[in-house]
């Protein structure tokens, strides 16, 4: 087990390193003057050639690419992700302000995905071919096809504008006003959770069907165990393994969805910051957020992989 964890840890670190290289290269090699990372277009026009030269030297743009990369990376390790041109604050502080909000919504959606998705999948597998199965399967099929931002607008129309049950947009901290916060996040979280619930249900269903055809399940039945025990204790434990592995990828989908949902519901989270930074050409912010999100997903996948090793004894001991 220890070697398994160690191997996975080293692998994750290597991948994070590759991610930093990709992010760095993306921001530097794409068309446009790299000095736009620190200056706006207007500044660029106002400065003379010599001033630009001095600034380039100051920002280290005349050094070879590799040295620029190591400089930037060492800055990142010290917590310095650069400065936002737009807000004139450090990227790190801006991101730290917004991470809790996005995580709040994302984690809730993630949990809902399991809480509703797995039982739905199990029910479908157990009652395969019945009306319940058909209905739930159709719903999950719809669930993975819905454009998440469109669902947001639809829900906003029905629940906020038509029925006036819920506030239209915004986000207040749950520590300030818990009830208002709850009412504000119901719609965004449900929109974010639809795809995870639907895809988890589908995967659970097919995984459970695969497991239930196995011989050891037939043995359990013939031993006379009651249905619930067979399903919960034997089938589900084995069926959960592929679902747990795939759930790590689901987080990436949720974070991607939050980029759109935060735009629809005007929630000041990381997704909205990324969109704004891309539209404002605030490249330092874009770079910082992309790096953080990608690293976060890799770390979550690492945890998932390790727990997968714990769940499946064949990995642990093999």
């Amino acid at each position: 087990m220890a070697t398994y964890i160690l191997r996975r840890l080293i692998m994750a670190l290597i991948i994070i390193l590759i991610v930093t290289v990709i992010v760095f290269l993306t921001m530097r090699l794409l068309p446009g003057d790299p000095i736009l990372m620190w200056l706006t277009q207007d500044d660029l026009k106002q400065l003379t050639a010599e001033q630009l030269q001095i600034l380039r030297h100051e920002f280290g743009l005349d050094k070879p690419m590799f040295l620029q990369y190591t400089d930037w990376l060492s800055g990142v390790f010290q917590g310095n992700l650069g400065t936002s041109i737009r807000y004139n604050t450090s990227v790190t502080s801006e991101v730290l302000r917004r991470i809790p909000i996005t995580l709040h919504l994302g984690l809730l959606a993630f949990i809902l995905g399991f809480v509703f998705g797995i039982p739905a999948g199990v029910i479908c597998a157990v009652k395969r071919g019945s009306l319940t199965d058909t209905v739930i399967t159709t719903l999950t099929n719809i669930g993975i096809t819905v454009p998440v931002f469109w669902l947001g607008i639809l829900m906003m129309y029905v629940f906020s504008l038509y029925l006036r049950w819920l506030p239209t947009y915004g986000y207040t901290s749950p520590f300030e006003d818990f009830w208002l916060n709850t009412r504000q996040i119901i719609m965004p979280v449900i929109c974010l959770a639809v795809f995870p619930i639907a895809s988890t249900a589908r995967q659970t269903r097919s995984s459970m069907l695969e497991v239930m055809r196995q011989d050891y399940i037939r043995t359990a039945w013939s031993k006379g165990l009651i249905e619930r025990r067979v399903i919960m204790k034997h089938a589900l434990k084995n069926g959960l393994i592929p679902i747990v592995t795939l759930s790590g990828l689901g987080l990436g989908g949720i974070l991607g969805g939050s980029v759109l949902i935060e735009s629809v519901f005007a929630i000041p989270g990381m997704g909205r910051l990324v969109i704004a930074s891309v539209q404002n050409h605030d490249y330092a912010v874009t770079q910082g957020i992309t790096l953080i999100i990608a690293s976060g997903i890799i770390l979550v996948n690492l945890i998932v992989d390790i727990s997968y090793g714990w769940l499946d004894p064949r990995i642990r001991l093999g």
Partner: protein
Amino acid sequence: MAPPGQIEIPPRVSEFWRFYRVFLNRGLVVFGLVVVVAFLLTAAFSPWLAPYDPYEQHLDNLLQPPSWQHWLGTDTLGRDTLSRIIFASRTTLMVGVIALGIAAIVGMIVGLMAGYFGGWVQAVIMRIMDALMAFPMILLALVIAALLGGGLRNVMIAIGIALVPGYARLMCGQALSIKENDYVLAEQSMGASSVRIMLRHVFPNCLPPLIVMITMMMGMAVLAEAGLSYLGIGIEAPAAAWGGMINDGYSRITTNPILSFAPGIAIMLVVFAFNMVGDGLRDALDPRLRGTF
């Protein structure tokens, strides 16, 4: 009944007809196929199908609800919504096809090399793919498209890049298993070059899951394009794109909700159809998977 002592040989069923029988077995798959064909035809014959020119502004008819004249009403500039939805199918199809094409070709080459050569080539390529997969697809496409400068061509490239890892992993896995076959060993011992083996033997056998993946990914590509055009990246006004239309309709949602709803329904139909066709293809091409869905 055969005479005693002789084995009765069942009639030979053509592989072709077996495929069709399984594929068309489920009603939803047939429905999906019909919608996909309708989508393709709509995109191809937009100028003949759309009742009005999508850019034409009927300034006396702004923000009309659905009527007999304009089946889905008009938008803020008086343009017919139905025509815009029909023409937007072209944008979606183009982005989908080209993005998938880029992803499939690049992914296939990369995956084939990784799977066939194995060793450190595989390790390096697969780690890079893992790193690419760590970025949420929308985020990756958003950043690449915006950095390249927006516009439809860059959206296609961006979505294509975002979809590459899926194909690469698939091809790598396929190549790894096919490489073990004896006929590959035979070719190698005859002195065939690696390129020849990869192209003539490994690649054709990898095709079935690849085709399935292409149809499944088409749904994701459509959703990604819709998301990006919703955020205003990719299309240049006054061009029509479903996501962009949803965004335009957002400001008028209290008075003319159909402006946002109709494009969304179009997106859902197309994505659903491609997913169903993908399911049907998967069931028909790989019998082992039948029964698990």
